[in-house]
Subunit: 102 residues, 2 copies
DNA sequence: AACGTACTACGATGTTCATCAAAGTTCGAC
DNA sequence: GTCGAACTTTGATGAACATCGTAGTACGTT
């Protein structure tokens, strides 16, 4: 399928969707990894202890919530944090989440 | 029941539980209301469009996640935001959530 | 003690969700 | 064009959850 991946515009991002997307241990690990790689990365390289299809589900949840942006590159898909949008809408939220020790 | 209400200690509060607790429209409205009333308030006074038993469930979810502190007062229970604990653990998170326009 | 208010506990219900396996798609390389 | 790698889609399953109604408890007031 070559239909472009759907991403919400900045003003379509809802706080409840973002919070729900972040409220999962696997997705939170993805977000933490993306925070360390500003340039983005293919989530397949992460060892998260879930199958590929589950990983697809999680990345889609993050994308549809507006937390990450995904762009195809070859057979891979590069995900990156939508830090600018999130910081503009919910200043402090992302930093607070990333600061969490546990 | 007069058994004291259980609250997690500050170092027992987990980010995923907090995010999950905040990721519900009804609970978010409760948190917003509590943010406007530092002294705390009885959640029963809020008109949230849910029954009393559902409200109990939501307040318990917030309490067990460490988002609010609840103290009995007469036949009521006064809830208040655990702003100090949340700000210490996840600086910016609460402000970011409260800043959300939608 | 009797009553009303505020809240809780329990049980039921329908929905959402995280997970997986299996089969399918897309794309680069040979 | 064939192969393999990376990812997605579909369908199934079990768990978690938001909601409600009913019944119950705790407490202040009369």
């Amino acid at each position: 399928m070559t239909t472009a991946l759907a991403h919400p515009e900045r003003d379509e991002i809802r706080i409840t969707s973002v919070l729900h997307a972040l409220a999962d241990p696997v997705r939170l690990r993805i977000v933490r990894a993306l925070a360390r790689h500003e340039e983005g990365l293919s989530c397949g390289v992460l060892d998260l202890g879930v199958t590929a299809s589950t990983l697809t589900h999680h990345v889609r949840t993050l994308r549809e919530a507006g937390v990450v942006r995904v762009r195809p590159q070859g057979t891979s898909r590069i995900s990156s944090l939508r830090r600018d949008d999130l910081d503009a809408l919910f200043p402090g939220l992302l930093d607070g989440v990333l600061a969490a020790r546990r």
